[in-house]
């Protein structure tokens, strides 16, 4: 009788065709976007409609009913919401990307990390388009000009990609082994939505809970986005450094989990 513990440790060897390929990545991102948009007349409008409706509902509820005391609440909400919807959609897609390519992965030597990264990047392209729209709206109707905080965006986007990719890799890997991931993830994301400052500012969190609250890397990321976009100035360096450190640790652990099991992924999914 054999148990899982005696399973062989994975062979470190990788076929040359399994090495990272930027060309393949670019082709997969182009494929994902083409397939999504090319036969739809309204295209990107549909992608915007869902978050815009949600933003509309959140504004109605938290500006007119619950009355969160934030001036220009719409501007505050827009500066963080799209970061959240990027996270939500990318992590949800992470559970299906490997099964969707299962047949392909058994036919061709495709590096799984490229498949997974392509999912993140094609969503990022959409995010950048949404962000451009938000930047224009905020500059025109909230700041009346381009605030200095916008300069921080490249760094924040990089941080966001590292954090989300660091979560996407292990989620995609583990969901190939445990179907439970598909069930658990929506619950986790639901909790994460409420414990992250998406529709309320982190400053409303009671002072004594704040240090714990700030441990959530999404709290740090969203607060930084809100500083840069809504307030229009540089994010506070301390919390931002903490978030960056957390993102690096998460990306490191996530990659390690993925790396440990990646050779098995084509057989398993």
């Amino acid at each position: 009788m054999t148990t899982l513990e005696t399973a062989p440790v994975l062979v470190p060897h990788r076929s040359p065709s399994l090495r990272w390929s930027w060309g393949l990545l670019a082709n997969l991102v182009a494929r994902n976007l083409r397939v999504k948009y090319q036969r739809s007349a309204l295209g990107f409008v549909w992608t915007l409609l869902n978050p815009l409706l949600t933003v509309g509902v959140l504004i109605a509820v938290f500006h007119y009913v619950v009355r969160i005391q934030v001036p220009h609440y719409w501007a505050f909400l827009l500066s963080g919401y799209f970061v959240w919807s990027f996270t939500l959609q990318t992590l949800t897609a992470a559970t299906t990307v490997l099964p969707e390519h299962a047949h392909l992965a058994r036919s061709l030597p495709l590096p799984s990390e490229v498949l997974i990264t392509a999912t993140v990047l094609s969503r990022l392209v959409e995010f950048l388009a949404e962000l451009a729209l938000v930047l224009i709206l905020l500059a025109a109707f909230h700041h009346g000009g381009v605030p200095a905080g916008y300069l921080w965006l490249p760094a924040l986007i990089l941080l966001q990609v590292a954090l989300v990719l660091g979560l996407t890799l292990p989620i995609a890997t583990l969901s190939a082994f445990f179907h439970d991931v598909q069930h658990a993830l929506p619950l986790g994301l639901m909790v994460l939505f409420y414990v992250s400052p998406v529709f309320y500012p982190a400053s409303l969190v009671p002072e004594r809970l704040r240090p714990w609250y700030q441990l959530n890397p999404f709290a740090g990321l969203l607060t930084a986005y809100q500083s840069a976009l809504y307030q229009g100035h540089a994010p506070a360096p301390g919390p931002l450094a903490l978030t960056a450190a957390e993102a690096l640790v998460i990306a490191g652990i996530g990659y390690a989990i993925f790396r440990r099991y990646r050779a098995l992924l084509p057989e398993i999914v």
Binding site: L4, A7, P8, H13, S21, L24, S107, L108, I268
Partner: protein
């Protein structure tokens, strides 16, 4: 214990050899060397598909009753010289496709070592990378990238691919409107135009019409004549016999017999007729 398997960088295909019969095996530089390769699909039978099972095992320390792993390959030794053509014969489940996947690097061996020298082209299934919504041209670029071509390499081959497929008029049409034969033609055209040193072919030529099959066979002959190494899987010894001078008969994950294709194919056919094939 895990093994190490090495992949030696590509060596240029020898082109000075005259087309026709390759020299005897002993004089050939090896293109592929498998030593004592074991592959078992451990996780197919034993993987934990739920956290509940994991909890039982890890936390309650209650062992799960699991069966022995199914061995797809148990100690395969195989040496294929550069420019050789080798047919893999054997009944379903004998490990033929597993051998190809291991050589392609799709799967990793459980133990043993695999050395592959040169650029490998893999065709497990024609058109596996195609997306039905994309046009023929877009799919050629995508599939080319999946097969390992850079953008520049693909651009240099694009015209040749369309010529071989004979689909110039349909290249702007989504692939979902193609017939299965047209899809196969396009896929094979991309795969062969990658110009691999070693071509791994699963049973893919069963699709397509007679004319297409003949074109493929002719192209594969040229590939062989130019010194390419071919490893092809087949249930049907007749079709590939013409392309491969050597055959390897796999049975239960081991080499049962190897030698000149005609002899091995005859022995395999005799065994299959007797019903002792499995």
């Amino acid at each position: 214990m895990p093994s190490s398997a090495a992949t030696v960088p590509s060596s240029p295909r020898s082109s000075e050899r005259p087309g026709g019969h390759p020299p005897a095996l002993a004089t050939l530089e090896p293109a592929i060397v498998c030593r004592d390769v074991v592959k078992h699909y451990y996780y197919y039978e034993h993987r934990t598909t739920s956290l509940r099972e994991m909890f039982r095992r890890r936390v309650l320390r209650r062992p799960l009753h699991v069966r022995q792993p199914r061995f797809a390959l148990s100690g395969l030794d195989l040496r294929i010289g550069q420019g050789e053509g080798v047919a893999l014969l054997g009944p379903n489940g004998s490990g033929k496709s597993t051998v190809l996947r291991l050589l392609a690097g799709i799967y990793q061996p459980t133990s043993g070592s695999i050395e592959v020298r040169g650029r490998v082209g893999t065709v497990m299934e024609l058109g596996a990378g195609f997306h039905p919504e994309l046009t023929g041209g877009e799919n050629v670029r995508l599939y080319g990238a999946m097969l390992g071509l850079s953008g520049r390499e693909l651009a240099a081959r694009y015209g040749r691919i369309l010529d071989f497929a004979g689909l110039h008029d349909f290249i702007a049409m989504p692939v979902k409107y193609y017939s299965s034969g047209m899809q196969a033609r396009l896929a094979f055209a991309v795969a062969i135009c990658v110009d691999p040193d070693i071509l791994l072919l699963d049973e893919v030529l069963a699709v397509g019409d007679q004319a297409f099959r003949e074109r493929c066979m002719e192209r594969l002959h040229r590939f062989r004549a130019e010194g390419g190494t071919l490893v092809a899987v087949s249930h049907d010894p007749e079709g590939i016999a013409a392309l491969c001078e050597r055959a390897v008969w796999l049975q239960d994950g081991q080499v049962r017999m190897q030698g000149p294709t005609a002899e091995v194919a005859a022995a395999y056919a005799a065994s299959a007729r007797q019903g002792s094939g499995s």
